[in-house]
Assembly symmetry: C2
Homo-oligomer: 82 residues x 2
């Protein structure tokens, strides 16, 4: 069985208020030396078939149509065997 590990993150230059808040919290908790923090989504999709090329094409189509907002977000797909 194939699993697509999809990471959806904000594009460079897009403000990330959630990340900024998280960075401040980490500093308050004593984590020094933290630079930028960016928050995104991690989505795992498992496929019933074992066709890698088809799974990659489907995962990319899901990202473009549903999982990511292409105006402000970018995505990355990694395929692995379950």
């Amino acid at each position: 069985m194939l699993i697509a590990e999809i990471r959806v993150t904000l594009k460079e230059g897009v403000l990330d208020p959630q990340g900024t808040t998280l960075r401040r919290s980490l500093e308050t908790l004593g984590f020094a030396g933290v630079g930028e923090v960016r928050v995104g989504k991690s989505i795992q999709v498992s496929f019933a078939h074992g066709d890698r090329a088809r799974a990659r094409a489907e995962a990319e189509a899901m990202c473009a149509k549903v999982l990511a907002n292409p105006v402000i977000e970018q995505y990355h797909v990694d395929l692995r065997e379950a």
Copy 2:
């Protein structure tokens, strides 16, 4: 500069209503052959220093203390150069 790519996901066996809803949406949109869908968080933390061992220890501590709920979530840290 070092960047920790942190993935926080629900543990096996923990119900993921967001993932279930997403799977139904994907089916409705015509993506056949989709098995389980699981949704988690992807967090990028950049460090001002270049000490890999220290960055990994700090990232793991952040996960244990702030980023993940250890009762229902697991985390994975990957380090990379910026």
